[in-house]
């Protein structure tokens, strides 16, 4: 197990390098190939009506006039060894991991990512717990009551959850619960350490909206898996041996169904930790998703690189955790 984890961690570093190279190419190289010059790019980070010498100054400050390969090399070197930055009256040192400085507001990227990460982590984990428990529970009950009113209603709601986009359900939730009835007024992120109660209260709506979309898929997969598993011979044997029904369902039925659930959960959570762009935008919660949206909108290249690398890291680690969990859920699996 230890060697497996070490091997995967080395792979993680390699994968992140590949991701950084591809991202750099997409946002730095491709526009150049399409004809954009360093001068044109620098012009976006200067105020109104700039004169050419001002744009050149910014171009030099941001290092945009260096060859692309050199810009990439400096960026990777900065992440590992840190970098110095001229902030005006003195030179700042940005230690490892230094994801550079924002082109737009000249602030280091890493602290901004750290500042936004709790929002996304709170959103993703909270919604993840809800959709996992809710989706699996509904799937199990639907399978056990196949053809009943509950089964049909819950699968109908599951269909709605999958079909209705978040910018509809989110806005509807806000309109009703935040603006009209003011049960959850002024929804904005409050740090857990500042006020745990308000933190939870302000996240209820985004959690439910996000979980509603994901729970649907989990309910349907669980239901299908349970229907298949509960018809197996060993389930009949377990019942014949006199085991309590709850034990038959949970220990023998559900456990076999969990493997694909865990796989999907790991992927979904990993992706969400990289930023739930739509949910964060609808609820104006500034997590990594909203950060990504603004970075792309502003063409702030260091911010784009930073958030993409962080999101990739989350996805890779999530998959590692999923692989480890397999060995616990299914003793037949060896790594």
């Amino acid at each position: 197990m230890i060697f497996f984890i070490i091997r995967r961690l080395f792979m993680t570093v390699f994968l992140l390098l590949v991701v950084s190279l591809v991202t750099f190419a997409i946002f730095f190289l491709v526009p150049r190939l399409a004809g954009q010059t360093a001068y044109q790019l620098a012009a976006q980070y200067v105020g109104k009506n700039p004169i050419p010498s001002e744009i050149k100054t910014v171009e030099t400050k941001l290092g945009l006039n260096a060859p692309i390969w050199l810009q990439y090399g400096r960026y990777i070197k900065g992440i590992i060894l840190g970098t110095h930055y001229n902030a005006g009256p003195d030179v700042s040192y940005c230690p490892f991991p230094c994801f550079g400085y924002s082109f737009r507001n000249q602030q280091p990227v890493w602290p901004q990512l750290i500042s936004d990460a709790p929002v996304t982590i709170s959103l993703a984990i909270g919604a993840g717990v809800l959709w996992l428990i809710g989706g699996v529970a509904i799937g199990v009950l639907s399978a056990l009551r196949k053809g009943s009113f509950f089964d049909r209603f819950s699968m109908g709601m599951a269909l709605a959850g999958v079909s209705l986009p978040i910018f509809f359900t989110g806005l509807l939730a806000l309109t009703l619960f935040s603006y009209k009835w003011q049960i959850f007024p002024n929804v904005h992120f409050v740090s857990f350490t500042a006020n745990p109660v308000q933190w939870a209260k302000n996240l209820v709506l985004p959690w439910i909206v996000l979980a509603f979309q994901y729970a649907a898929l989990y309910a349907r997969i669980t239901r299908a898996g349970m229907l298949e598993t509960m018809g197996e011979d060993y389930i009949r044997t377990a019942r014949a041996k006199g085991l309590p029904e709850r034990r038959v369902i949970v220990k023998h039925g559900l456990r076999s169904t969990l493997t694909p659930i865990v796989t999907i959960f790991g992927m979904d959570l990993g992706l969400l930790l990289g930023g739930a762009i739509l949910t964060e935008t609808v609820f104006s919660m500034q997590g990594l998703g909203y950060f990504t949206f603004l970075a792309i909108q502003n063409q702030d290249l260091p911010e784009i690189m930073g958030v993409v690398l962080l999101a990739s890291f989350f996805i890779i680690i999530a998959n590692l955790v999923v692989d480890i969990l397999y060995t616990i859920i299914d003793p037949r699996v060896r790594i």
């Binding site: 009506n49 602030q107 806005l171 104006s284």
Partner: protein
């Protein structure tokens, strides 16, 4: 099948009921009658805030919450150019001058703030002397000196650190090549020779040429004092040292700013400002729809961006008399144009340009920009009405025939030798939906007289630096027309018209005289304006405006307007006419906030 159909129908009915309930709106009780504070809101009517104070109150305390759909370019007064930040920064920074805090046209009046008076110019206009008030203190109790004002101006010279703000000092003052204090080797970093500081309260400015509008330039927050020892360069935006009625308490970059009263501030030194609220919270990067709903439900007091509500809220306000009574619709100082390039054929001929002026359907252009309330007022002049020196005239029947004067357009086409029309290309920003709609509307209206317009869209970020603002590109790609807009840096004719129409403003990149007008009549009027003051100077702006229109270099579309909603929980609210948005120096909170 029957059971499934029943369930599906019930589900659909439930969802529909929820949607209808959500969409129906009768306004909330807090928008009518007396607000929660007891301040009188029942006397509000649509546009009251243009000329009177809405929700007047002397209540001190409470929290004023600002919501903004975007982040500032910087909260550092020396590094910002956004109109709302110029307005908002007055809460924590005292610049040399400011605009009078009052509703109506008096809001265009420049008054001293840190300065003691409007300054004294030498006989040749090239030397200006200003005095600052003694006894003004920073939030830490130290006293503001004239050197701090000089240092604040010096900071703006280093564009590698301060890239955002205006660059008038380099163009107006002597010593334009000063590198900025971070590269300044002189003692105390006071190396800018264009400004002398003979004593702690006096500044002497040396200009390259006479420039009567210098006090307007000194109204920018770049003159808010900065003590050199406290300057942290690019990080100063995180906590500028306050001289205004409020100071930074906390600032999470691009997320939330909290201001609290600055105990070192004295109202006697700053009569334009008020210190009513006990806290000001600014939430940044909030979805515009959320901003609007927070205002409509009194959960916030101000939309900081000041450009008005979004389309959904606009519809609610316009159709609900209660909401509308608490709304105000100012001209925001920004005007939308189409530049007609005088150097691109066939627009080298005046009559071809005039054909475009006559043929344009102003009504469809106005609709493209959002209609008469949220879009703007049909324009017939380059200067908008909130510019000192505005004079109303209508050379091309934009007001009398807003759907276009096809007959006169065709007459002009005859005179320019193109009786059947001609083809040309128009540049516009394709990431601006309204500008795209306006370009399409113009294309349709010009088609009626045989002018075939090919539309060419460009990204907004490089539009002025690389495309329509690059004369070489314009000529090589025959862009006869370019969409654009303009807002004055200060509210007189020079501030609005110089960059748009002075022959010496034509630049090789970032060009603002996009129509490339180099009319000696106009150029001479600008030169004359630099030697005049008062009413004689003001009268020149109408002449300039008239000549630009006579040259048909610019097709005015609309004077833009904003539909701003004023929650009843906001007190002392009125439109500051220069900024074209609410006056942030005056706003307080009702006792329930």
């Amino acid at each position: 099948m029957k059971r499934r159909g029943t369930i599906a129908t019930a589900t659909a009915a439930a969802l529909a009921a929820l949607v209808v309930t959500a969409c129906s709106s009768g306004g909330t009780s807090s928008t009518t009658g007396t607000g929660s504070s007891g301040n009188n809101t029942s006397a509000n009517f649509f546009n009251k805030g243009l000329t009177q104070v809405m929700n007047p109150s002397t209540h001190k305390g409470g929290t004023v919450t600002y919501e903004s759909h975007a982040a500032p370019d910087s909260f550092d007064g020396g590094n910002t150019y956004y109109a709302w930040v110029l307005n908002f920064s007055r809460l924590y920074e005292m610049a040399m001058f400011t605009y009078k805090s009052c509703p109506g046209q008096c809001g265009l009046t420049l008054v001293p703030r840190l300065a003691t008076d409007m300054g004294t110019a030498s006989a040749d206009g090239k030397t200006w002397t200003f005095h600052i008030q003694s006894g003004v203190k920073y939030e830490n109790g130290s006293t503001v000196t004239a050197s701090d004002v000089k240092y604040a101006i010096e900071r703006t010279y280093d564009r590698s650190v301060m890239a955002n703000g205006p660059t008038y000092y380099q163009a107006i003052l002597t010593d334009p090549t000063y590198p900025g204090p971070y590269k300044d080797k002189s003692p105390n970093k006071m190396g800018l020779t264009a400004i002398d500081v003979p004593n702690a309260t006096t500044l002497v400015f040396h200009l390259q040429a006479a420039f009567p509008d210098l006090p307007y330039v000194l109204a920018f927050p770049s003159t808010a004092p900065v003590p050199p020892a406290s300057d942290t360069g690019a990080n100063y935006q995180l906590h500028p040292l306050a001289t205004g009625p409020y100071k930074f308490q906390t600032y999470q970059l691009n997320k939330q700013l909290t201001l609290v009263p600055n105990t070192a501030w004295s109202a006697s030194t700053d009569p334009q400002a008020k210190q009513l609220a006990s806290k000001i919270v600014m939430n940044l990067n909030v979805n515009q729809a959320n901003v609007d709903n927070l205002l409509l439900t009194n959960q916030a007091q101000v939309d900081a961006a000041g450009v008005g509500v979004g389309p959904a809220a606009q519809a609610k306000i316009e159709t609900n008399s209660t909401y509308k009574a608490n709304a105000v619709n100012p001209i925001n100082g920004f005007a939308r144009f189409v530049y007609i390039d005088t150097k691109v054929a066939p627009f080298t001929n005046l009559h071809c340009r005039e054909a475009v002026e006559y043929a344009a359907n102003k009504t469809t252009l106005q609709d493209a920009w959002g209609g008469p309330i949220a879009g703007g007022q049909i324009a017939s002049t380059v200067n908008p009405p909130n510019i000192i020196g505005f004079s109303k005239f209508d050379l091309y029947n934009a007001l009398s025939q807003p759907n276009g004067d096809v007959s006169d357009a065709k007459t002009q086409l005859q005179q320019c030798g193109q009786p059947n029309g001609f083809s040309t290309t128009m540049g516009y920003r394709n990431d601006n939906p309204q500008e795209t709609a306006a370009a399409t509307a113009l294309q349709a209206s010009l088609q009626q007289v045989g002018i075939k317009l090919t539309l060419k869209g460009f990204a907004g970020g490089t539009y002025y630096t690389s495309f329509c603002g690059d004369p070489a590109y314009v000529h090589s790609h025959s862009l006869g027309l370019c969409a654009g807009g303009w807002g004055a840096d200060w509210p007189d004719g020079y501030g609005f018209l110089d960059e748009l129409s002075n022959g010496n403003a034509i630049a090789s990149t970032g060009n603002t005289n996009i129509e490339e007008l180099n009319d000696s009549v106009i150029n001479n009027l600008f030169a004359k304006a630099n030697t005049e003051t008062g009413a004689a100077r003001t009268a020149i702006w109408a002449q300039v405006d008239h000549q630009i229109m006579a040259d048909a270099g610019i097709l005015p579309e609309v004077y833009q307007k904003s539909l701003i909603y004023v929650p009843t929980s906001a007190t002392n609210v009125f439109v500051q006419t220069y900024y074209g948005m609410l006056d942030y120096l005056a706003i307080g909170a009702s006792s329930g906030s």
